[in-house]
């Protein structure tokens, strides 16, 4: 085998010890005021993972309470607060920023071949907004928390006596702007900072997904902002835009909320799909199947996302014509989603699959997203939705999509880029065990809830009929299993920071540009604009035993 490196500029694996983005500047202010997209990405990642821990604790408390009908550990009021906190923290502080803001910030500019995002200061400002939003949520907890459900439906949210409603809504408003500015930054970066050679159709699919996501962030989030502002004004000044007693319209709130929050579901899932495209292609070392179809299906999903919100409101009394239209359009979202699943499976077919942790998470995603997506069709069907609406079936469906898909992809992506971010390898064996535990625990928790819901158990209830108990017990046991899997993940990831093996520049054999940087990347990303090739051409990448990583090997010149 020849070992001629095709790109001699590619740094060897021992240079990053002398200077990389992690050690270029020292001290806490150098982190909190950094303009480096990689550090901002790391800061987001830490924040998101801490929030995930907090949201997870609330989830465990809610599941434990539901072990028995009636009181198990907490009273009904507290239960209402806890499931609300679980939902609000997980949606606004974890899943929405998890992929675009955390991983996206780290990966996007390097993958693109740029030195940073277009507006580094705005990027830091977005992060400070995220912190402020998180602080508002903590303030809300101190002031008496909130029990409105994460959707803040009026008129309950404008009349409840819980003391923390206004701070948390202000917090979500601020988080919204954090998300808007991140999206704006990414759109401009992708338009204006592609180096020579990086054409639209040479962009890795994760970047296409982040681009589609950014469009939704910029177009949909402002509507949430004004809606929440109106709720705060309504609560403070006692006016009635959303209050029927004063001539207002509570269903108007639902329309506005879902005009944002349905696209927000795609803010969560589209970048997750982008990660899966990377994981599947890199870890099966095979050219992605149907590149353009995957790229355009991301954009198609982004467009569809704006015209399906009414499917959350089939039972709100909206006209049957609207119901029919929203139902039909919702079905059509299945097309671009299925296109992706089809392409991923075709990529796996005859691929040289490395069955490692990121790949396991990608395979878990395909299974869980398929279940989550197909059960979405039951809910988009008008007559079955009347039965299933506001039951555990809905809870199970959106957990399969938001957690089983979006979050699982985030964790898979975290493992994929962990060597790049930290410069350390995690324990592969433990990674695979933890992934299996999470997968099994997840299905025990949430598949049970499909049955629970179709038997008629309403969501959000504190008390229930005794015949539902067996399902609740199984679901709770599943949640404990899943939690233990995540705790194991946290342990070996932290352990890898201390004693993990040093990561080579390209541990997986990826062909996108971030794998040409050292691990961890240098402060400047690229000293000169990198040479851009096909992001999914793995034919010249070969495992190098000495460097313990993949290196590019030029094919021997064809003899004439």
């Amino acid at each position: 085998m020849t070992t001629l490196p095709a790109r001699p500029a590619a740094p060897t694996y021992d240079t990053p010890e002398s200077d990389n983005y992690l050690i270029h500047d020292k001290g806490i202010p150098s982190w909190l005021l950094t303009l480096d997209h990689k550090r901002i990405g790391v800061l987001y990642t830490v924040g998101v993972l801490l929030s995930f821990f907090v949201g997870g604790i609330f989830a465990m408390l809610v599941r434990t309470e539901l072990l028995t009908p009636g009181r198990t550990i907490i009273d009904a009021e507290t239960y209402n607060h806890f499931f609300t906190l679980h939902g609000a923290v997980m949606v606004f502080l974890v899943i929405i920023p998890s992929i675009p803001a955390a991983l996206g910030n780290f990966v996007l500019p390097i993958m693109l071949g740029a030195k940073d995002v277009a507006f580094p200061r705005l990027n830091l400002f977005s992060y400070h907004l995220w912190i402020s939003g998180a602080i508002c949520t903590v303030v809300s907890l101190v002031m008496g928390s909130f029990d409105t459900g994460w959707t803040f439906y009026t008129p309950y949210s404008t009349t409840t006596t819980a003391g923390g409603v206004i701070p948390v809504i202000v917090g979500v408003f601020i988080l919204g702007f954090s998300s808007i500015f991140t999206g704006l930054n990414f759109i401009v970066t992708i338009h204006k900072l592609r180096p020579p050679g990086m054409t639209w159709f040479r962009m890795p699919l994760f970047l296409w997904a982040l681009y589609a996501t950014a469009l939704i962030q910029v177009l949909a989030t402002p509507v949430l902002a004004i809606t929440l502002a109106l709720v705060v004004v309504e609560r403070i000044a006692n006016i009635g835009i959303f209050n029927p007693a004063m001539g207002g319209d509570p269903v108007l709130y639902q329309h506005f909320f879902w005009f944002y929050s349905h696209p927000a579901v795609y803010i969560m899932i589209v970048p997750a799909m982008g990660i899966i495209s990377e994981l599947i292609a890199v870890h099966s070392h095979r050219q992605i199947f149907g590149y353009r179809f995957i790229a355009f299906s991301s954009v198609a999903i982004a467009i569809f996302s704006f015209i399906v919100w009414g499917h959350h409101m089939f039972t709100s009394g909206q006209s049957s014509l609207m119901n029919t239209l929203f139902s039909a359009i919702s079905f059509s979202v299945a097309i671009p989603s299925a296109v992706k699943i089809f392409n991923w499976i075709c990529t796996l077919y005859k691929g040289s699959i490395s069955l490692n942790t990121p790949m396991l998470y990608a395979l878990a995603f395909i299974v869980l997203f398929t279940i989550g997506g197909l059960t979405g069709l039951h809910l988009a069907t008008l007559n079955t939705d009347v039965h299933l609406h506001d039951t555990y079936f809905v809870v199970a469906h959106f957990h399969y999509v938001m957690m089983g898909s979006a979050l699982i992809a985030m964790v898979g992506g975290l493992h994929h880029w962990w060597p790049k971010i930290t410069g350390r390898m995690y324990n592969e064996k433990l990674g695979m065990i933890a992934c299996a535990i999470v997968f099994v625990g997840f299905n025990i928790t949430f598949f049970t809830q499909f049955m629970l819901g179709s038997h008629g158990m309403p969501r959000r209830y504190y008390d229930y009929q005794p015949e539902f108990q067996i399902y609740h017990v199984i679901s709770t046991i599943g949640s404990y299993i899943m939690a233990s899997g995540f705790l194991l993940t946290a342990m070996y990831l932290v352990q890898s920071l201390v004693s993990g093996k040093r990561a080579p520049a390209n541990p997986w054999g990826g062909a996108t540009l971030e794998w040409e940087c050292a691990s961890p990347p240098p402060y400047y990303n690229f000293h000169e604009a990198p040479k851009v090739g096909d992001p999914y051409d793995f034919s010249n990448l070969h495992w190098d035993e000495r460097g313990e990583g993949y290196v590019t090997v030029k094919p021997p010149a064809a003899k004439a």
Partner: protein
């Protein structure tokens, strides 16, 4: 503005940075437009929802204050002076540009002041009551006025940069963005006023 460490500057040329800045501004204007379109939609849904039932406008309450006509004219005039300022700056006549920009700044404050007069007119007739007619007026005009005030803050910074004139290119870029924002607010105000006007009939 370029970032302090030139080796980390993401753009190859100042021109590339300017064009990225303008695209960013366009996207920001889309965000602002979405906010106002949503607000006007909310207003229309609530207004149309009350249909022909009496009670949208409480008996004996006034129509929209006449001050709004004056403020509309002021805002239109400020848009015109803003455009003149930009044109002058682009042809390197900075003195003229600064004068026109200050005129815009003054007209902007005059707009806010006249809106305040309109508010007080409405407030005298319909103070803190449960009337959606009055409250939607307050909420919509206040939302717009807040954006105008934000624009005036930014405009002050832009004018100061033009006055100091260390970097003409940067100063003109700032003025361009400010002009884009200012025209957008003027167009939004026209749409908002028309919406309020249509909704004010009983």
């Amino acid at each position: 503005m370029p970032i302090s460490d030139p080796a980390r500057e993401p753009f190859a040329t100042p021109q590339a940075r300017s064009s990225a800045g303008l695209l960013g501004m366009w996207l920001f204007l889309v965000v602002i437009a979405m906010v106002f379109v949503a607000t006007m939609m909310a207003y229309l849904v609530v207004r149309l929802g009350t249909g022909d039932e009496p009670g949208w406008r409480p008996d004996g309450s006034p129509g929209l204050p006449w001050e709004l006509i004056l403020s509309t004219l002021l805002l239109a005039a400020s848009s015109w002076t803003m455009q003149r300022s930009l044109a002058a700056a682009r042809s390197d006549r900075d003195d003229r540009a600064i004068t026109s920009a200050w005129a815009t700044f003054a007209l902007g404050w005059a707009f806010v002041a006249v809106q305040g007069l309109g508010w007080s007119q409405m407030w005298r007739a319909l103070p803190l009551q449960d009337s959606l007619y009055a409250w939607t007026f307050y909420v919509l005009t206040a939302l717009h006025a807040l954006h105008v005030l934000g624009g005036l803050g930014a405009m002050y910074a832009v004018i100061m940069r033009l006055v100091k004139s260390h970097d003409h290119h940067e100063a003109v870029l700032g003025l361009t963005k400010c002009t884009m924002y200012w025209h957008t607010l003027a167009v939004i105000w026209l749409a908002l006023y028309a919406t309020l006007w249509v909704g004010s009939f009983d």
